[in-house]
């Protein structure tokens, strides 16, 4: 049985007739698996995870046929029960490490707080464990960093602390929401390596939200490509990169700068993600798709499974 099961998840902001930000999303994560969710800005990657955690406030409306984590229906959970699961079994690392830590408290206090809440550790035991965690995330001089305030740490170190806080309660699923976007390239590599090591050592599942395909290629086992709130392609990592079946995935792969060394210009996908008022009647990608046909403009395709995965396209590439 999979650890996380999402069926037909929709999130809307403001009224039942509003355009869905996440539209009929199906997703599952197995124990110990690394799943990457990729897509450009505004494609609903983060909102999906917020919905899972129950962090969508009014006027947002979350609807799903099934939103199950480790056998618990997350939609039914209220207050205290939710707080017991979220944060312990389900943890998250954020995009911007500079705002992810509370500026008013020391790093040690913030980690100990999680330990107190979820592991029942107190006093010296909590402090020792916090130190252990900081060493775990490879922070130099960990003992003295316990008393540091977040503004005294660099971005990379803050992100390491944030990761230490996230893994403090030994979660079964860690969600990393663009964990390396705000960091420079060398630190990015270190942080990704750290996340993967932790994932392997603790056997936890990792959902990696990113728009960096290079990171995905190196780390993930499965990929979900999202576009305008819909999953457009699902697939295993090497195959999806070698032979994408959805035109959007193909366009994303072509737009990796490393792929277009040489004289010609970097390939781009013209246009922008459709907004509230210019949603096409047919396939959401139809105004931008290089292979668009008449049927694409009239009807919306569904996510259909094929030999190597699933794609939301009437004319998937190289499948036949």
């Amino acid at each position: 049985m999979s650890l996380l099961d999402i069926h037909n998840l929709s999130v809307r902001f403001g009224g039942a007739d509003a355009v869905p930000v996440v539209d009929g999303l199906d997703l599952s994560v197995k124990k110990g698996e690394v799943l990457a969710i990729v897509g450009e800005s505004g494609s609903g990657k983060s909102v999906t995870m917020m919905a899972l955690m129950g962090l969508i406030d009014a006027p947002g409306i979350v609807h799903a046929d099934c939103l199950q984590f480790d056998g618990t229906d997350m939609l039914r959970l209220k207050g205290r029960q939710r707080r017991h699961i979220v944060g312990k079994d389900l943890a998250m690392v954020f995009q911007d490490p500079m705002t992810a830590l509370n500026p008013s408290y020391t790093v040690g206090f913030q980690i100990e707080e999680v330990l107190r809440q979820h592991m029942g550790l107190k006093g010296k035991a909590a402090r020792a464990r916090a130190l252990e965690l900081l060493e775990r995330v490879e922070i130099p001089g960990a003992a003295s960093r316990l008393d540091a305030y977040p503004h005294q740490l660099s971005g990379g170190m803050s992100q390491r602390v944030a990761i230490a806080m996230a893994i403090a309660a030994e979660p079964k699923l860690l969600i990393a929401d663009e964990p390396t976007t705000a960091l420079d390239v060398t630190i990015q590599a270190q942080i990704m390596e750290l996340l993967l090591n932790l994932q392997r050592d603790q056997g936890m599942a990792l959902v990696l939200i990113t728009h960096d395909l290079a990171v995905v290629a190196e780390t993930a086992q499965r990929v979900c490509v999202m576009y305008a709130g819909q999953a457009v392609e699902l697939g295993q990592v090497p195959t999806l990169f070698d032979a994408p079946s959805h035109p959007y995935t193909e366009a994303l792969l072509k737009a990796i700068p490393e792929h277009s060394t040489g004289a010609h210009r970097l390939a781009t996908l013209p246009g922008i993600v459709p907004g509230r008022y210019d949603r096409p009647q047919g396939c959401l990608l139809s105004p931008r798709c290089p292979y668009v046909q008449e049927r694409c403009r009239q009807q919306r395709p569904t996510l259909d499974e094929h030999a190597r995965g699933a794609a939301r396209c009437f004319f998937p590439l190289e499948v036949a």
Partner: protein, 300 residues
């Protein structure tokens, strides 16, 4: 990683208090203000021992004696006497007690409910927010002194009612300030992270968010301390505040205004006490703002 790196000097972080003092002491005006405030606090705490005379004792032989450096001055009365022969210096020293009491009490009485209302308004933006904020808008639409006069007129004059009136008048600024600061913090990831880590609503409000909103509130509290002293003096001057013979600075001004041409010191000296203490508090508030707000740090 050896243990020697953890003992590296560069890794010993300065305490926040030390950092604050380092930033604060660069502002000379603020340090002067702090020194003057400490002097006033000292006077207020030890007034009965410092003051040369009892503030209400009337020396009938020495009505309107000028200060010692003027012709006819007496060493017995350093700053002269008022129209009833009471020693001005003693009255000003005792007046410091009242002014500080009014300032402190009204700041506490408006800060605490102000923070609570502001937190509620920002954490329940649909349920409580509009109601609280419109009420504050109505209170802000009235001139503050007029509102204070109206409140005193309803409650009746006197020390306690003056404090209440000033506290109510300065409430809206705290509510708005708290709400603005909290709304800014609520969008930050650490609040989401705290929610994820399982923080309950009260914990989120008071432990996670509130400490990060304290800097502007501390500054506002200092600055409204001085305006509380001013308002109390104004109410006293209008005869609605603390009643004579209590030595309150504004009340002293009011009872002495008939002698403004014959004996200037009776009016000037309490006025000067008000001016200097308000100025000192404002200077200190400025320094506090600079020291607490990282964006303004090292600006000058």
């Amino acid at each position: 990683m050896t243990t020697s790196t953890s003992l590296d000097q560069s890794l010993l972080y300065p305490s926040p208090l030390k950092e604050f003092w380092h930033a604060f002491k660069h502002n000379k005006g603020a340090v002067c203000g702090l020194a003057f405030i400490l002097l006033i606090v000292f006077c207020a705490l030890f007034a009965p021992w410092i003051a040369p005379h009892h503030p209400s004792e009337q020396y009938r032989d020495f009505l309107l004696t000028p200060p010692v450096w003027l012709e006819g001055g007496q060493w017995q009365f350093l700053l002269g006497t008022d129209e009833l022969g009471r020693d001005l210096l003693s009255r000003i020293i005792h007046g410091a007690r009242l002014s500080l009491l009014i300032g402190l009490a009204s700041v506490v009485l408006s800060l605490v409910p102000g923070i609570l209302l502001g937190l509620c308004a920002s954490f329940f933006p649909r349920l409580l927010g509009p109601g609280i904020m419109r009420l504050m808008d109505i209170m802000l639409a009235l001139p503050s002194l007029l509102l204070a006069v109206a409140i005193v007129a309803i409650l009746g004059p006197g020390l306690i009612n003056t404090i209440f009136a000033i506290a109510i008048v300065s409430l809206p600024s705290y509510v708005r300030l708290t709400r603005a600061a909290v709304m800014g913090e609520l969008n930050r990831d650490y609040v989401t992270a705290a929610q994820l880590a399982g923080a309950s609503l009260p914990r989120l409000m008071f432990v996670t968010v509130l400490p990060n909103c304290m800097a502007p509130l501390i500054v506002q509290a200092t600055l409204s301390f001085s305006s509380a002293i001013l308002d109390a003096a104004a109410l006293g001057f209008l005869g609605l505040g603390v009643q004579p013979p209590t030595p309150e600075w504004g009340t002293m001004l009011a009872s002495a205004r008939d002698y403004i041409e014959r004996a200037w010191w009776v009016v000037t000296l309490p006025g000067l006490a008000i001016l200097l203490s308000v100025l000192a508090i404002n200077l200190m508030g400025d320094g506090l703002r600079d020291a607490l707000d990282p964006k303004l740090k090292n600006a000058i």
